[in-house]
């Protein structure tokens, strides 16, 4: 075998490094999973040993990473088309689709079994359902079929705080469902704002985003409707066991800002957006990142203050 033939073979089969496999786990998405799952665990009324808590968060993160790898395996064809995803390990040629599938399946099974052993069956069952929901319901079914893909698929990203809560308590309760609902309702305005200034990429890949199928006017209206519903839910959560005065104050400010942003998006037309390079939409998207981080940060802080007689109601 000559060096030339060897080089051809490696570029085709892709001799992947450790970092390529790590990239397959969608580490940026994983940070959100880790953070929200941790908040779910901390906000739970039952304390867990730090080692068990660490293991629970780790296995939830690994499960989230596994679903990311399986998503990349399934979506490899559209990842090759979209500019944003073209450098992922499969389109880049460093990892084959079969390798990604095997890696994802093995990690998913590993994460679910280990979470069951480290914590309880309820948490493990929720993690298994989350992986199933993200890979089968969202990636395989909804994503390429309906413009409501983001709405229903968002549920997959909303499960981690519920799993964290279940890891500590072994149950599902109103508070954990509210944390789920917070991410679930936040996802559509967050992604539709992104889709408003990334439309061409989704169009090219044939993903039926609302902007593509129903136009931007409808998308802008949908962003406003979901933001109004989200605001009511986010502030209302403040009056439950996971909330408190600090959370309510944070939620009131953030939701006022978010509503103003959604109203601005709704009132604009395409000419105005084109004129300033989608500045309002981009600002709303950036705010949405802080929005979720600060809401969950406030929930965590309320829980952290409870031992000092300060957090909660």
């Amino acid at each position: 075998m000559s060096d030339a033939s060897f080089n051809t073979a490696t570029s085709r089969t892709g001799e992947a490094g450790f970092g390529d496999y790590f990239a397959l786990l969608k580490p940026r998405v994983m940070t959100l999973v880790v953070f929200t799952a941790l908040v779910g665990l901390l906000a739970a009324p039952v304390g867990v040993h730090p080692v068990v808590g660490f293991a629970a968060i780790l296995f939830i993160a690994v499960g989230g990473g596994a679903s990311g790898a399986l998503n990349m395996w399934w979506d490899a064809d559209i990842d090759r088309v979209m500019k944003r995803t073209r450098s992922r390990p499969i389109p880049a040629g460093t990892i084959t689709e079969d390798e990604a599938f095997a890696f994802g399946i093995a990690l998913a099974g590993f994460a679910v079994v280990m979470l069951a052993l480290a914590t309880n069956l309820v948490a493990a069952a929720l993690l298994a359902f989350t992986i199933f929901f993200y890979v089968v319901i969202y990636s395989m079914w909804l994503k390429r079929w309906t413009p409501q893909n983001i709405v229903i698929g968002g549920a997959a990203g909303a499960f981690p705080p519920m799993i964290g809560w279940a890891a500590a308590t072994g149950t599902v309760s109103v508070e954990s469902v509210l944390m789920f609902a917070l991410i679930f309702m936040w996802t559509p305005p967050h992604f539709w704002a992104l889709a408003l200034f990334m439309r061409s990429d989704y169009e090219k890949a044939g993903v039926p985003m609302l902007t593509v199928t129903h136009g931007r006017r409808v998308t802008r209206r949908h962003i406003l409707i979901y933001t109004i519903l989200l605001a009511a839910l986010a502030v209302g959560t403040g009056f439950t066991a996971v909330g408190g005065p600090l959370y309510v104050a944070v939620a009131l400010v953030l939701n006022a800002l978010f509503l103003v942003g959604a109203l601005r998006i709704w009132r604009r037309d395409e000419d105005m957006a084109e004129a300033d390079g989608y500045a309002v939409e981009k600002r709303f998207f950036r705010l949405s990142l802080y929005y979720l981080f600060l809401h969950f940060g406030a929930i965590a802080l309320e829980a952290a203050l409870v031992p000092y007689g300060l957090g909660g109601w």
Binding site: M1, G17, F18, G19, Y21, L117
Partner: protein
């Protein structure tokens, strides 16, 4: 046929093996830690031995 020691392929393969080794070592440590925590908690009970059951 021989490859030079510094070939990029070897570097990536070494990195992958080293990474996997460290992950496995961390996993062993975590399982050990979990075991210690679980057997030292108050609600931990041993299964009765077969002699005791009889």
């Amino acid at each position: 046929m021989s490859f030079r020691e510094e070939h990029d392929l070897h570097k990536r393969r070494f990195g992958r093996n080293l990474g996997l080794g460290l992950v496995l070592a961390a996993f062993v440590a975590l399982v050990f830690g979990l075991t210690v925590v679980k057997v030292t908690t108050d609600d931990f009970t041993m299964q009765p031995s077969s002699e005791a059951r009889d």
